[in-house]
Structure formats: C-alpha cells, structure tokens
C-alpha cells in the first residue's frame, strides 16, 4: 500500500510485502483458495504441513498460486523438538524459509505454549528460518522470542476459531508499544471491524481463516477484510489510533500558563 506519505511496506525478515493480510488456509474449501487470495489481495498464506498431500489428491500446495509466499506452520507439534522437525520437513518440501511456529499440547483450548515456542524459535532462527512464533500475548515471552531471533510476533486475539475478536486487546497493545518487530494478530479475528480495530492499534498485519472460510460468500468476505485492514492501517498512520487511546493533544496547550 502507498499513501501520500510514501511507501508503507511490511518488512518481515528482510522480505517486503505490500499486503498486510495473511491468509490462514486450514478451514477452506481448496477450490475457493484462488478466489479468496485474489479478493483479499494477500501475498502470504499459511499452510499446515500436516495437510500437504504431496503427489496426492486435494494437496493444498497445488491450490496456492505461484507468487504467494508460503508460511508453513508446525501445527501438530506438542514440543519444541517436534516443531523443529516439522519446520525442517517443510524446507525439504521446498516450502521456503518462512515458518510459523505453533506448539500446542492442549486439544481443548488449542492455546500455544510460549515456553516451547521460545525454544523452537531459537533453534530455527539459528538454522536460517524466518521465524514467526504464534504465541499467547505475554511481554516477557515476546521479548524472549525477539531475542531468540523471531522475525515477527504473532499473538492471539482470542482462542483459535472463536471469532471473538480482540479479547487480549490491552496485552497486544503492550506488544505493539514495546516490541520493535511486526506484531501480527493471528487468531480470534471474526469480523472485518475487529481486523480494522487491531490495525488502528498499530498492529502490523492480520491473519484470518475461520472468519472467511465460514462466510456465506467467501470471496466477498475476503474483500471486506482487505478493505478493513487497509482502512485500519490508514487510520493508524493518520494518528487516529493515538487519539482513540485518550492520548490526544489539546488544541491549546494545557501547560501554557507556566512562567519562567
């Protein structure tokens, strides 16, 4: 996206993206993928390695158009070691150097394990991966992931698939304010308005899957998300975000009465 103020690219691990919308793919009908990618204007899509049916039917890799950066995820990993092994498998399948780390060992809530994720980040960053850890928004964990070599941080907005929006809003804001890496909200975004709100807060990008995959018209919903994300980003750049937070500057100085 370009505005009057100049380029506004998203840079992750040295790679430049114009779109700030990352598409999750696990819940889609694959035949809809191309339509969604085009309508959403996305340049990056996640892919669970566990869904790659190389050489077989309904292989997700056959449905992602060329030119789209693949973000393989380590879904299915319960420990750092398992995540590392899945990431290496993805690299062997020529899925590129990007990897989204997911370490989950709770089948009920599907909440990420920050400790294991930090360990996996460290190992994979050392091996040259562009590492995007999916995490529960905790500042200390985010700092540890940054120090371990993460290229971006992906906090959850709400539990996966819940479509409940930014339940962790205040904690994500802390990450935006404190971590000098792109913060990408990864789960829970159920409506374009929630994506817009996150972007207004200064989040660098949005990942969404369920909200689009389960819409009646997935193509139209993809477009709605694109517009909402662009709109929220423009609002953030315009400075609206800060005013919404009650940090507005008054038109005449409140401390103008001071002398000396």
């Amino acid at each position: 996206m370009r505005t009057e103020d100049g380029p506004d690219d998203l840079v992750i691990g040295g790679h430049v993206f114009r779109s700030r919308f990352i598409l999750g793919s696990g819940k889609f009908s694959l035949e809809k993928m191309r339509e969604v990618i085009e309508n959403a204007g996305v340049e990056m899509a996640t892919m669970a390695l566990r869904r790659a049916n190389v050489g077989g039917a309904e292989n997700i890799l056959d449905y992602v158009p060329s030119g789209i950066t693949l973000l393989p995820n380590t879904s299915g990993a319960r420990t750092a070691e398992e995540a590392v092994r899945i990431a290496r498998l993805a690299r062997e399948l020529n899925c590129g150097d990007f990897v989204k780390i997911e370490v989950i060992h709770d089948s009920r809530y599907l909440l990420p394990d920050n400790y294991e994720t930090i360990r996996a980040t460290e190992i994979l960053a050392r091996e040259g991966f562009v590492v995007l850890p999916y995490m529960y928004p905790d500042l200390n964990a985010a700092r540890a992931m940054r120090d371990a070599g993460a290229a971006a941080i992906m906090p959850l907005g709400a539990p996966i698939g819940s479509n409940r929006g930014l339940l962790t809003r205040d904690f994500i804001q802390i990450l935006v304010d404190e971590i000098d890496l792109p913060i990408i909200v990864d789960a829970g975004i159920g409506r374009p308005s929630q994506a817009c709100e996150a972007m207004e807060m200064g989040v660098a990008a949005i990942m969404a899957n369920t909200a689009i995959a389960t819409a009646v018209d997935v193509g139209l919903m993809a477009r709605a998300f694109r517009l909402a994300i662009e709109s929220g980003r423009a609002a953030y750049r315009a400075g609206l975000g800060r005013r919404l937070e009650g940090r507005a500057e008054a038109s005449s100085p409140l401390t103008g009465f001071l002398q000396g």
Partner: protein, 383 residues
C-alpha cells in the same frame, strides 16, 4: 460347571494403572437420570457457550429430542468453528477375524461358524497397496480379539507395513498394556480406538460371557494406557442400543472428558456405532436407537466437546452419512470392505457386520465436494 470369571477383576498380565476415572464415570452414570430433565434444562444448555457435564446430560435426555433442530444449528456452528470445511477420509482394514471372545452381539463371536482368516504380511501388503491406490492416507487396522492368533508382534509388523504406505495409521484391536502400545507406536501407529460397548457393568457382564474382553476395567483404562504408551489420539464409543443408550452416551462423553483433562494433549474422538432396532416392531422400545436418537447423541458429543473428532461409519446409510458431515461428523470412512482380504478381491474370511454404504473413495470424495465441504486425505505429520 466352572464358575464365571469376575468381570470387574483384572486378570493375570493385565496392567493396573493409577486412575480414578472409572470410579468417577460409574458414579456419575449411576446418578444420571435422563428423565428428570425438562425443556428448560435443554434450553439452558443450548444457551451456554461452554457446556457443563450437567448440560451434556440434558442434551441426551428425552426432553432434548424436541430440540434436534436448534441442537443441529449450534452443532454446525461449532463444527465449522473448529474444523472449517474439512472432512477427513479413512478406511478400516480387517487383517484377522479370529476371536476368543463370545460377545453375544458380534459377528466375530468365537462360537459363530464364520470363515476365519488371518492375512499374512504378503496379503496385508497387497491390501495396503490396493487401498493406497485410491489415494487414502489414513488407515485403521482391525483384528478380532485373539492374542494367540493375532498377537502384538503380528499387529506390530502389520503397522510397520502400513506406515510405509500411509501417512496415519490407527489400530482397533484388543486392549493392550502400556509397553505393548508403546511398541505399536514405535512401529508407526498413532491412534487407538477402543470401544467399551456398554458402560453398564451388569449388562457388560451379561453380553461378554467369556474371553478376556469380559474384564471391564482393563478395557475401560485402555485409552489411558495408549496415551501413556505415546499414542497421540484415542477414540471412545459405546455400542448404542446394547443397554440404555442415553446412559451409555453420557458415560462415553464423561470418560473422554476426564481423559482429556488428565492428558490435555490427547486428541479425542468419538465413534457412535449402534445396534439397529428391529424394523416393523410394533412395541417400540424406548431404548431403541433410531436415526433421530443416533443424531441426538452425535450432536450432544459435538456440543459438549466441540474440539473432538467424530467418525461416522459405513454401518449407516449414505443419506444419513452425507448429512452429518459438516454438521457434527468430521471423519468418514470410504471404500470399505469388512471381509478379510476384500480389497484385493481375494476374500479369505467373513466380515463382522454388514455395511450400508459401499461407495468408493472417489464417490465419497465427490459427495463431500458436492456438499460444499473439503475432502482431507492427510491431516497428520509424524514427528
């Protein structure tokens, strides 16, 4: 005459684990009275975002039968939320039908004069190749319950072979000790199905007059031992209709719930097999499980545990199966042969039951797409 074995006492070589789950399930099932719930209880359950065990009980009650439509609407929402459009496909492979049990409801009963067979590794490989050619990546190996005819070493060898051709290998066999599950896991299996048949201990005893399956608690703890042995997934189920199906479904859900609480990483799934009621029976039995009752149970499982897998077998007719995927079921069998050696056209032994849906993998695939859903061949990576 020899005295019958106490069905609640572990036999020799049966591992006893530290667990209070069976006691808790039996206690809660004893208290569960499906008839004390009314419409208000069902509505309250449907209004809650996370269901309690009490809510689950309400959804299984006769009062909830009038609420199938709103239950279905909520179930579809939950299924979409957790699984999106994905519907996994798999097939069972029967490698042996020798059995040492006398389960009165089962075609494999050792007193039944059926053709018995045990495939050797060469025949198993031929079957595996034939199935793999259909594109499937998820296979469930099944045997009758005979440690002497289909021992753990034999099953382990079959698993090793299957893992060469398939991404995901599960087993539906007799209950094992933890170290035996660990062996099968090392061979390449990663999920285990053990169905309790009925959680009612008296009825259990009645329908399992002989054989090691008679021992109730050893079967009950099988999922825990499988998880301790390193398996990723465990499946639960009762053969609905064998006893009071509402109590059995309640106990099944509670069993799965408590196992998941104790082993949070465990991937939980349900199967809802049923005994078909006699058609044209004028005296309809309230315990009969017709399609509406079967669906009620499936919807209740989905609402109680939205994250759990739910498999629909070929025992049900195509029209039922086609409508429950996307609604509550997440996994469907395809290209099923229940006879031994049936995939290569060299049938050696008889099947356990008759199937109602004989469609091929390609036909089931096309049906899933037609319903606006996504056929999934693999959703697993072994690590």
């Amino acid at each position: 005459m020899r005295a019958k074995t106490d069905h609640m006492r572990y036999g020799r070589h049966m591992e006893v684990i530290e667990s209070d789950i069976m006691g808790r399930v039996l206690e809660a099932m004893g208290r569960y009275d499906a008839h004390r719930y009314d419409a208000a209880d069902v509505e309250r359950a449907l209004g809650r975002s996370v269901l309690t065990i009490e809510d689950f009980g309400a959804l299984l009650s006769p009062a909830a039968q009038a609420f199938l439509e709103p239950m279905a609407a909520r179930a579809r929402h939950e299924t979409q939320r957790m699984f999106g459009n994905a519907v996994s496909m798999f097939t069972p492979l029967y490698i042996s039908n020798f059995c040492e049990n006398m389960c009165v409801y089962c075609g494999f009963n050792c007193r039944n004069a059926i053709r018995r067979a045990r495939l050797d590794m060469e025949a198993i490989e031929a079957e595996l190749k034939a199935i793999a050619a259909t594109g499937l990546q998820d296979i469930l190996l099944l045997t009758g319950e005979s440690r002497s005819k289909s021992g753990v070493a034999y099953i382990g060898d079959a698993v090793r072979l299957a893992a060469r051709y398939f991404n995901l290998v599960g087993v539906e066999i007799y209950p094992l000790n933890t170290d035996e599950y660990a062996h099968l896991h090392a061979c390449g299996a990663d999920y285990v199905c053990v169905y309790q048949e009925t959680y009612d201990t008296d009825r259990y005893e009645e329908v399992h007059p002989r054989g090691s399956k008679r021992i109730y608690p050893y079967r009950f703890d099988a999922q825990e031992r499988a998880l301790k042995g390193g398996m990723r997934g465990v499946a639960f189920g009762a053969l609905l209709g064998l006893a009071d199906f509402r109590k059995d479904a309640f106990a099944t859900g509670l069993h799965a719930h408590l196992v998941q609480k104790k082993y949070p990483h465990a991937e939980i799934s349900f199967s809802p097999p049923r005994l078909r009621p006699y058609i044209n029976n004028a005296d309809e039995n309230p315990r009969d499980v017709h399609e509406p009752q079967l669906l009620q149970v499936m919807l209740a499982y989905r609402l109680f545990m939205p994250f759990a897998g739910l498999t629909i077998s070929t025992r049900e007719r195509a029209g039922f199966r086609d409508h429950v995927i996307g609604l509550c079921a997440t996994k469907i069998s395809a290209g099923v042969r229940v006879d031994i050696g049936g995939h290569t056209g060299e049938e050696q032994g008889d099947g356990q039951f008759e199937i109602s849906d004989s469609r091929s993998v390609a036909e089931v695939h096309a049906m899933i797409l037609k319903r606006g859903l996504q056929p999934v061949y693999t959703d697993y990576v072994r690590v």
